[in-house]
């Protein structure tokens, strides 16, 4: 028996619905159909009157969730794809994100964003928006990379009183499996050393953690370099203690992400490390992101658009050569 990443997301929602009557699910095609990716399969039947199909109205979906949160509920909104949250952008960044600061009333909503690229998905079903939302004050942005984190961080995220963007990676949905969901359970706001090493640190999150580990394995085999991989787990808040401690050990930093290359998570990580840990660095910190074009449709272009174990190895070799 094994559990996939998407199983974990479904199980977390089942547990939440079962244990907290304030939780309900709202989104397109999530009730009897079980969602475009089946993340809510069976939940409408198991929890009657708690799982609702919405019209194609992302702005209103989030607006409704915010209103319900004011009334004490803990709605989970499923975007069919993260990319469509651009329609709900205003409700997320202006209504939900500002509400606590303005009124003192927090907004415990969780918006699930099926994120990241898969082959053939093209420019509008592949985006990684964590770096966009993290720019706004008042939002918490989670980016689980493991089956166990997918489970625990969804549960812990819903328990937070503030608005949470839960960025789940579509590529991991069925590809990533674990024996059980009872992995190590860290609190939100704490990063994880996924793979210890001593020659360089790769700071990654979500699907890129796995690509980083692959690259690290390859470099170890090829040339004996021991690469440490840090999984941020949440990009806002950012656990700089763990990141800086790792850079203190290795002296070298590669910030790795799947989003577009201007700004975003990797820029924030590099900036924070250089501001706060400049003296720890033995070489210029590097970034590796997707290319500065929309995510291409064709699998051959897609594979060259995002970082791969090959391009990560290249970047690490450059980093290690300083």
């Amino acid at each position: 028996m094994s559990v996939t990443y998407i199983d974990a997301i479904r199980e977390a929602q089942a547990k939440l619905l079962g244990e907290d009557e304030r939780v309900f699910l709202y989104g397109q095609d999530i009730a009897s159909f079980g969602g475009a990716f089946k993340a809510t399969k069976g939940l409408a039947e198991a929890f009657p009157g708690r799982v609702f199909d919405s019209p194609i109205s992302e702005d209103a979906m989030v607006g409704l969730a915010i209103g319900a949160a004011i009334e004490g509920m803990r709605p989970i909104v499923e975007m069919q794809f993260a990319d469509f949250s651009s329609i709900a952008f205003n409700q997320i960044v202006n209504q939900a994100a500002t509400h606590y600061y303005r009124t003192g009333v927090p907004i415990p909503i969780t918006v699930r964003l099926p994120s990241g690229g898969t082959p053939g998905s093209g420019p509008f079903h592949s985006q990684s928006m964590e770096g966009i939302y993290a720019q706004y004050p008042g939002l918490i942005v989670l980016t689980p990379a493991t089956v166990s984190d997918a489970y625990h961080m969804l549960i812990d995220g819903v328990a937070l009183d503030d608005p949470v963007l839960y960025c789940e990676h579509k590529f991991l949905y069925r590809w990533l499996k674990a024996k059980s969901i009872n992995g190590e359970h860290l609190p939100i706001g704490q990063a994880r050393i996924t793979r210890p090493g001593k020659h360089a640190t790769v700071v990654a999150y979500s699907a890129m953690v796995h690509e980083a580990v692959r690259a690290a394995d390859r470099l170890l085999e090829e040339s004996g370099w021991e690469i440490e991989v840090v999984d941020l787990r949440s990009v806002k808040p950012l656990d700089m203690d763990t990141v800086l401690a790792s850079v203190a050990r290795t002296g070298r930093l590669l910030a790795l992400g799947e989003a577009f290359p201007w700004g975003g998570v990797t820029a924030e990580v590099v900036s924070r490390v250089t501001e706060e840990g400049f003296h720890l660095l033995d070489a210029p910190p590097q970034r590796l992101n997707a290319r500065d074009t929309p995510v291409p449709y064709h699998p051959k272009l897609w594979a060259a658009h995002r970082p791969t174990p090959e391009s990560i190895c290249d970047a690490l070799r450059r980093l290690l050569s300083f």
Partner: protein, 323 residues
């Protein structure tokens, strides 16, 4: 509505005297619409998401005068503590959400409050109301919100105060149907038209719309024809409103109309109105004076956090204030 007018006149003079920073947005001429909506609701159970020109409705729904003066004058004691101001105020936990500026956005928010109330108590008879302008009906957010409320058959009352202009933009540059009430059918919601300068007509229609919503007929849309008797904000003289409109039927002052209606019918006497006026003027004066003597927010005391959650492992990244 009388109190609202007195308060707004006061806000206008404070603005012109430079005592209010930002803007002042008045509901002059729209008091009958707003107040009769506020009156038709039950402040104990219902929701009223006031918009730009709803001072009268706020008062009718029970918002304390001090909430207004403190927000405008930036007192740290107000519900927004200086973090937001003027019309962007509210007490969400008391059925008064605080509007964001983005027009149309409150429709789905009120819908969500009603959705939650029904989930928590299927026998809930709470109604939720919000006002929008003619301009706000062009927003996608208005459309999505009203449609969702209709699909869910929630007890939402949306009042469109069609004051013929959105800032300077006249109706014919905003929509192409004859009357916005023609939209109701397309959403599958109830529709009402009313002369917004006629208090008794407004009171009747609002009561009926709220009654229908409360009794399970789903969302109701009321379109009131009015004219604002001020600029868009107090910085604006509204000179784009043509003279014939100002001097026409909707240019009449709903408060004068209401006074005539009430005195003609013998419901109140002119003396009583004079007495109210005086009493309200005093209350307004007190609310202004109190807000003015209260502290402004202090950046050194301010809790600069947009989250209610604290993450002990993560620093805030916020810089200290320069000395």
């Amino acid at each position: 509505m009388l109190r609202s007018r007195i308060l707004e006149n006061k806000l206008s003079s404070l603005y012109k005297a430079g005592k209010i920073v930002g803007g002042v947005y008045l509901g002059k001429g729209q008091e009958a619409v707003s107040a009769s909506l506020g009156t038709a609701l039950n402040p104990e159970t219902d929701v009223f998401s006031a918009l730009i020109r709803d001072q009268a409705g706020r008062i009718a729904f029970g918002e304390p005068l001090l909430d207004c003066t403190r927000s405008y004058l930036g007192s740290v004691e107000g519900p927004m503590r200086g973090r937001d101001g003027n019309i962007h105020r509210g007490r969400p936990k008391e059925g008064m959400p605080a509007m964001i500026s983005h027009l149309g956005s409150q429709v789905s928010l009120v819908t969500g409050m009603l959705f939650a109330k029904r989930l928590k108590d299927p026998t809930s008879r709470a109604v939720g109301a919000t006002c929008v302008g003619d301009g706000a009906t062009s927003t996608g957010s208005f459309h999505e919100g009203l449609n969702v409320a209709a699909v869910e058959k929630l007890p939402l009352v949306v009042v469109v105060a069609n004051n013929q202009f959105a800032y300077s933009t006249p109706n014919y540059r905003q929509f192409a149907c004859g009357d916005l009430v023609e939209r109701a059918r397309g959403y599958g919601v109830g529709g009402f038209s009313v002369d917004g300068t006629d208090l008794i007509a407004c009171a009747t229609v609002m009561r009926e719309a709220v009654r229908r919503a409360r009794s399970g007929d789903g969302p109701q849309m009321v379109v009131a024809q009015v004219l604002r008797l001020s600029g868009h904000g107090e910085h604006d003289d509204g000179s784009y409103v043509p003279e014939d409109l100002r001097s026409g039927h909707y240019g009449r002052d709903c408060i004068e109309v209401a006074i005539r209606q009430l005195t003609d019918r013998g419901i109140v006497t002119v003396d009583e109105i004079m007495a109210w006026q005086e009493q309200n003027a005093e209350e307004v004066q007190r609310a202004v004076a109190q807000a003015q003597q209260e502290q402004a927010p202090d950046p050194y005391q301010e809790d600069w956090s947009a989250l209610s959650t604290r993450f002990p492992l993560c620093q805030s990244g916020n810089q200290p204030i320069a000395q």
